[in-house]
Symmetry: C2
Subunit: 302 residues, 2 copies
């Protein structure tokens, strides 16, 4: 059963037991463009105790570079190496696991975060933020991209696109249907994400429409809770899993990611989940700890 | 096992055996805006033999009125009463089966065909073709519709929308998530439809993204193969099922619709299916007849 973080002693135990803290971002550090309470103080506290902090986000709309700026805008100083985004994880997957030749192009359903990370490892992308895709699909134009698929495309990657439209969906579908040999990769499969007090459609819901139309599911989802992402983090930072804790706001991605990766877990209730959702789970599927908010770690020490 | 229509005798048998012909439209009469060969002649042939013809389409983007015009543009004269579209079937379902009070509004994810048919039975629609939904979703605007759901909405209906975008998806999702008591109705669930030699995403694929995000499936799909649509056609036209044949281009909607409704069936290969797809089926699931094209009925008689 989960331990509710509700005293200074419990925080002291956490600070003693773990030397690496993996954080989900949306719903844990901030909600949309609103920083959650006492986040700066909590991260400063961890750094002052020489804890390693790593930020693991399924938000593929941004590259790691963009994320460093986003943190800076909140007054948080982090390095690019401390960030693992699903856009980065996807680029790593395609280049090091799939070993797709670098002269192949990649069709992107998604935003610039995916394009930037793919370019950084050496690929050319098409689709994505191409402004022509913001126009309605015109089936009367023989020059439309839909009648002129690029023969050099070697993979299709799909993630969250806040400018998703029928044109993008249709193009992506053509690559999936007409070129069944192309690997189809999802950045992540979250069905929703929290923003401004709402639940909005996540990458999983955007991807589901083209997957349903094409009759094929992605071969791999690179973000949480894929254990490949954890393996990459552990390898890069040489961390000890028994001394690492995964902090997140979602049971089916963050907490599963931590648990499947052999880590203890801390669920914060500032995002998508409630205590009722936790209590519905079998005891061994519950997070190690539950806190009302991440900032409680700082506040209970005062 | 299916009988391949390949001789004058077979056409004579069909003309003797059936007095009512139900037709799917896209893929049977036309493909996109291209009329298939000998359609005018075949329909004239049936009318000259005093056959009743009824057009049953899952395309919800048009109303029956729009369909009459579409037929006219192809040089085909049909009456509104001969047309059953999934937009019309949905309006009938909501007013006569759900009996939703007429002072309730209906949130529409879809095009004007749905709006027009709902208005014709007396409902007010919101969403749908509202031009504000063509703008990007703006979460920084407190006046955005997403923060101001209409309390008078009494149902959500979703169908094909060739202008589908993230804004429309997000609004539809809010009604489904925040108002779980609202009935959620699909016009139809075709995953794809044929156009200009391509398979494009159908209503089912558009709906799947919001259904996946909301974690709830539509309570009813009003188009083919829903037997409710067949019951409505049989009742309205007082037809004898044993003397009626369903003609279509899709095994999983048209042929299933006919077979489940107790009709014989004719599959034409001008749309989405191939003979290989037919042969993969168990004998009792195959269509009664298969023809290369509907126009063969006319051509074999010459």
């Amino acid at each position: 059963m989960s331990i509710k973080v509700a005293s200074k002693d419990q925080v002291d135990t956490i600070l003693t037991k773990y030397d690496t803290f993996l954080f989900d971002c949306d719903g844990v550090l901030w909600l949309g463009d609103h920083l959650l309470p006492k986040i700066i103080e909590t991260l400063n506290l961890l750094r002052s105790h020489n804890k390693k902090v790593i930020f693991v986000t399924n938000n593929s709309t941004k590259s790691r570079e963009n994320y460093v700026s986003k943190f800076e805008n909140f007054g948080l100083k982090v390095s690019k190496g401390e960030i693992f985004s699903s856009s980065f994880a996807s680029a790593v997957y395609i280049s090091t696991i799939l070993k797709l030749p670098k002269d192949k192009k990649i069709w992107v359903l998604g935003q610039s975060g995916i394009e930037d990370e793919l370019k950084e490892v050496g690929y050319t992308t098409i689709g994505g933020t191409d402004p022509r895709l913001n126009e309605p699909l015109n089936l009367n134009d023989p020059n439309s991209m839909i009648f002129n698929l690029d023969p050099d495309v070697g993979a299709v990657i799909a993630g969250l696109d806040l400018n998703m439209n029928y044109h993008k969906m249709s193009l992506t579908l053509q690559y999936l249907l007409q070129k069944p040999e192309l690997p189809f990769i999802a950045t992540n499969i979250d069905s929703t994400y929290p923003s401004k007090g709402l639940k909005l459609a996540g990458a999983g819901s955007v991807i589901e429409s083209v997957a349903f139309a094409a009759g094929r599911q992605p071969m791999c989802s690179c973000g949480k809770p894929n254990p490949g992402m954890m393996d990459a983090i552990v390898a890069k930072h040489a961390i000890d899993r028994s001394k690492t804790i995964m902090v997140g706001d979602r049971l089916n991605t963050d907490m599963k990611f931590g648990r499947d990766g052999g880590l203890d877990t801390l669920l914060v209730l500032t995002g998508i989940e409630t205590m009722e959702n936790v209590e519905k789970l079998a005891t061994d599927e519950q997070p190690t700890y539950v806190a009302n908010k991440l900032g409680d770690l700082y506040e209970y020490l005062q």
